[in-house]
Subunit: 245 residues, 2 copies
């Protein structure tokens, strides 16, 4: 008997950031697997399920655990914050699922922090953009540096995921230093913090100010392109519609 | 009396791709403004509203119309497909709203085609990526070319919006030619078509094959990075978790 494993993005952090399709997948599931913070978020809304908590790291074990639960005919949801395909579990699940041919994997997309953070700050992503993670846990730092430099040269808006954490306090400062070799110090930037959760915050500042800004692992950082402006406290990148005028 | 204008992303194309927050905004609204295709999508679910249809272009007029409706105390939703902040109306609304200080603008994010198309294809975006539109309606083509080249040099996954339309049939072919100066012809690529709508399709192919592929304005194209692979008919970019093994 074949089982189903939904890899579900629950959006930025509050229940209402989830899509109707994600909610449906959770409703259909017998078992919900996830990091404890995300399980705690959905548990009050989906009763009568079996919840399995896994630690933040140990992603491979989490995938195998979810696939084991689905093997044999179960319906299981593995939940991720934001979108499961953006620095999420979708890829690893599909890789691991090769050993579980009797499980059908369905990826249910969600609103990633690039979009929810952008909405909080205004509209910084209205034109071409690059999404780059500053975590060097799985990527060599020199590759991250190269991407930052080229994205800045391309005049794309840049969204930085994982700007800092306990183990890497100075990554944002180092990234700003590299961006500063291409971009002016007064470039408009923004920080979105704890999006959709208690303590949600947003601030608009310059690239120079960003170097010294306090961020944590719940922050997403936006670096504007050459046309990005601040309008009434919002960060806005014009698409160019003004040429119609 | 101040009004509220929600700029709402309704997701990829079917009702269940919308977030609960987006649904809530539409429920609260007296007036819903949008392109006719999107209005037709939501109208059966939100009755008793006044619907105002606007043509696909004429974005400035659409913004002003929505702001005029909200001025004086109304609650209005301006709907966009995908996310309103990604090649959407959020920026122009915030710019235009300077002339409407009595209207509060709230951007409600949605699932953009980068995410929903990725879920359809598998998990191509698990690592850093760039989102680039091939429409030169509002951007000079040489700027688009430069961004393509630099994104390819940065070894980022590349998502192409607006790969073609009636007026620009050969843009995808021209883009592939530029990418081909940096990337090998056998680079794994994917096309997601009519995401979340009738006739939804997906295909995985090489960069060489992409040059001759038929796409339309409802397609989103994905160009893998150097680690992207095809696994059981899915396009997967590993994040690097394998290093844990």
């Amino acid at each position: 008997m074949s089982g189903i494993l939904y890899v579900v993005g629950i959006g930025p952090g509050s229940m209402d950031g989830m899509t109707l399709k994600a909610r449906e997948a959770l409703e259909k599931s017998d078992v919900i697997v996830g990091y404890k913070t995300y399980n705690a978020l959905v548990e009050p809304y989906f009763e009568g399920k079996r919840y399995i908590e896994t630690p933040m790291t140990g992603e491979e074990e989490r995938c195998r655990l979810a696939l084991e639960e689905a093997r044999g005919g179960g319906t299981v949801s593995l939940i991720c914050s934001g979108d499961p395909g953006v620095y999420g579990m979708a890829g690893l699940v599909l890789e691991t699922a090769r050993s579980y041919p009797d499980v059908e994997v369905r990826v249910i997309s969600g609103v990633s922090a690039a979009m929810s953070g952008a909405a909080l700050l205004g509209a910084p992503l209205v034109h071409d953009f690059a999404v780059i993670s500053l975590s060097d846990r799985l990527t060599p730092w020199d590759k991250i540096e190269k991407r930052l430099q080229l994205a800045a040269q391309a005049d794309m808006v840049i969204v930085l995921y994982n700007p800092s954490s306990k183990g890497r306090k100075d990554h944002l400062r180092r990234a700003v230093k590299i961006l500063g070799t291409v971009l002016p110090g007064d470039r408009i930037c923004g920080i979105a913090g704890r999006i959709g959760r208690e303590g949600e915050s947003s601030s608009i500042l310059t690239l120079d100010e960003l170097a010294g800004a306090g961020t944590d692992m719940f922050c997403t950082v936006f670096v504007g392109n050459s046309e990005t402006v601040e309008i009434g406290g919002k960060m806005v990148t014009p698409r160019g519609y003004r040429s119609e005028r």
